[in-house]
């Protein structure tokens, strides 16, 4: 992360936030636009999860990492506490690597 990248992300994020309060009631977002913006966030997050789970550079990341993330995901679906989700994911991957799984 370069300083410029952090600043652009910070300013862009701030711009999203301040448009509403500055324009006040003079502009309204349609339901469809709101919906698309929210769904876009979910699409992007899940894509980050799956690509960083399975791939490293242009290739397959090996089984240890996706297995750990899978364990974390199952715990999250079962509404386990956040800390447990993170530790279980890391521990599973670490143990598999210790056992020789790439």
């Amino acid at each position: 992360m370069t300083v410029a990248a952090i600043l652009v992300l910070a300013l862009g994020t701030y711009a999203y936030r301040i448009v509403g309060p500055v324009l006040g009631g003079r502009l309204k977002l349609s339901d469809r636009v709101r919906r698309i913006l929210l769904v876009a966030a979910a699409v992007l997050l899940l894509a980050l999860v799956t690509t960083s789970a399975f791939t490293q550079g242009h290739g397959f990341a090996g089984w240890a990492r996706p297995a750990g993330i899978g364990v974390g995901a199952v715990l999250a679906v079962r509404r386990a506490p956040f800390v447990l989700v993170v530790i279980a994911a890391a521990a599973t991957t670490a143990l598999l690597r210790l056992a020789g799984v790439p």
Partner: protein, 232 residues
């Protein structure tokens, strides 16, 4: 969801405290994992101070740690934060008055502060909930991230500790509440499949953006669901 918000309105202070605790843990992880992944200490610390949006911070760092360039990281963060635009419109009435109020209040627009504000009916309580949540989370988030960087330095070989699995697990926990709606899960799953399929052929960071093509499956009839995003 309705009943949940009623409960929040009954005991806002306790609930705000719980959310602060949860986000504090997310902040600790962000600081620790960023530094353990090889970034200098100031990166997570400065990001938290000036961006103050956990999901985007995690995503941008995830792209960089996966080998993506700064442009891909910034675009991913900006797409993710676009949801703050409607949030700003939702709390417009709370930020009227002086420019100072607008400028500082805007920085505090995050999923949690907006959710707690909207859970209140009276304008005065709305305003109190917004500022209390926003300011507490800003303070706790930044302290937690800073503290987390110390933990990150203490960790040696990140792969041996499985930390590369911790990052995606955090992101999954963040996105899960949104995926419980079918009309959101469908474009998200299609997008992920596209991103995975494209990974061998595109530069790192770009496949994730390609996933946004999944948005074409968002039906015209799908109505906006007001409170489904819970991303720090």
């Amino acid at each position: 969801m309705r009943s949940l918000w009623r409960t929040v309105a009954l005991a806002p202070v306790r609930d705000i405290a719980l959310v602060c605790l949860a986000d504090g843990i997310v902040g600790l992880s962000f600081g620790a994992i960023s530094v353990a992944g090889g970034l200098p200490t100031w990166v997570p610390v400065v990001m938290s101070l000036v961006i103050f949006a956990g999901g985007a911070q995690f995503s941008a760092v995830a792209v960089v740690l996966a080998g993506g360039g700064p442009v891909a990281a910034v675009v991913a963060g900006l797409v993710l934060n676009a949801r703050l635009l409607p949030f700003g419109f939702a709390v417009t009435d709370l930020l009227q008055g002086s420019w100072w109020r607008k400028l500082t209040g805007s920085l505090l627009i995050i999923d949690e502060s907006v959710a707690f504000a909207l859970a209140q009916r009276e304008p005065k309580r709305r305003s109190a909930a917004f500022w209390t949540t926003g300011i507490s989370l800003y303070v706790i988030w930044n302290i937690a991230v800073f503290a987390g960087t110390y933990a990150g330095h203490a960790i040696g070989d990140t792969n041996a500790f499985g930390l590369d699995a911790a990052f995606p697990a955090v992101l999954f926990a963040l996105v899960l509440p949104m995926l419980r709606t079918k009309s959101t899960a469908r474009p998200a799953v299609i997008g992920s499949v596209l991103a995975l399929a494209a990974t061998p052929f595109l530069p790192p960071g770009v496949p994730v953006l390609l996933a946004l093509l999944g948005l074409v499956t968002v039906g015209k009839s799908d109505r906006a669901e007001p409170r489904q995003a819970v991303v720090a």
